[in-house]
């Protein structure tokens, strides 16, 4: 078990600086080229893009170049695909900045969310700060994303409501 350096643990911050943004900031004990590789290489992405319990990631493609595609899909016991995530990279500065569109949909095709995601990597002495800025089309869409909690959070809460309401 590798020790995690004390300097690393700047935990996840989530903020909403404007009506249409969600900003995530987190630091990692690694040089930014490794974080970039982990973020945008399919076999590495499969290791950390954890699906909800009992879901499996089926497709994972990521071409981190301008015009390149992002294509992720998950299946569940009931549906294949259960959810898809598709996008296109619009701006790429290797190890520094990547911007891509992102459209999330259920297996039925029903749209879950549509956003632009910007990843920024800045490094100081082998500690990399990652900032993910999600821009939504409207305040309602952004608020919905905040409220939904995504994936298993949403599902767990609905199950609880179902149990209470009968």
């Amino acid at each position: 078990m590798n020790a995690i350096s004390p300097a690393q643990a700047k935990g996840l911050q989530i903020s909403t600086p404007t009506d249409t943004l969600i900003v995530l900031t987190r630091t990692f004990s690694a040089p930014r080229r490794l974080l970039w590789e982990a973020m945008f290489t399919p076999d590495k992405m499969r290791r950390w893009m954890l699906p909800p319990p009992s879901w499996t990631m089926t497709t994972c493609e990521c071409d981190a170049r301008v015009g390149g595609a992002l294509d992720v899909a998950w299946k569940s016991a009931d549906a294949d695909p259960a959810m898809t995530l598709r996008g296109v990279f619009t701006e790429v500065v290797p190890h520094e900045r990547a911007i891509h569109t992102e459209v999330m949909a259920l297996g039925t095709g029903q749209l879950v969310g549509s956003l632009v995601e910007r990843h920024e990597f800045s490094e100081a002495g082998n500690i990399t700060t990652l900032r993910i800025t999600q821009t939504y089309a409207s305040k309602e869409a952004r608020d919905g994303a905040l409220a939904s909690g995504m994936d298993e959070g949403m599902e767990a809460c609905y199950k609880q409501l179902e149990a209470v309401l009968g």
Binding site: I4, D19, S29, D143, E152, G153, M154
Partner: protein, 119 residues
């Protein structure tokens, strides 16, 4: 039966999205206040301040009681707790992924180091 709770939550998030309304909520977390007390620290006209109170009432975050000519407001914590727990879910969702990313990065660093030693 599945209930879609998100429109009500959207209202709560909308209510929380304005700094003046967050300031009102912070004041009310200390206890009941009348409208003048709530309006005083905000840099705006009294009607503008009471509009913000109404938005909070619509989101069921604030309850008002009238005593003579005074209006007293009280925080209704339920919707706020619920809204907080939804953002906590989002936080948990991302933090779980980032922790997995931490482990992966440690592995990648070790692999690099051992590759370096073999050269």
């Amino acid at each position: 039966m599945v209930v879609d709770a998100s429109p009500r939550l959207d209202q709560v998030f909308h209510a929380l999205a304005h700094p003046a309304r967050r300031a009102i909520i912070r004041q009310l977390s200390d206890g009941e206040r009348n409208l003048s007390e709530l309006a005083a620290p905000l840099k705006m006209t009294f009607p503008a301040a009471t509009k913000h109170v109404r938005v909070l009432e619509q989101a069921k975050l604030v309850r008002r009681r009238v005593a003579g000519r005074e209006h007293f407001c009280r925080l209704n914590a339920g919707p706020l707790k619920e809204a907080t727990s939804w953002t906590e879910e989002l936080h948990r969702h991302w933090e779980a992924r980032f922790r997995a990313l931490d482990s992966l990065l440690e592995e990648m660093k070790s692999e690099e180091q051992s590759r370096g030693r073999r050269l």
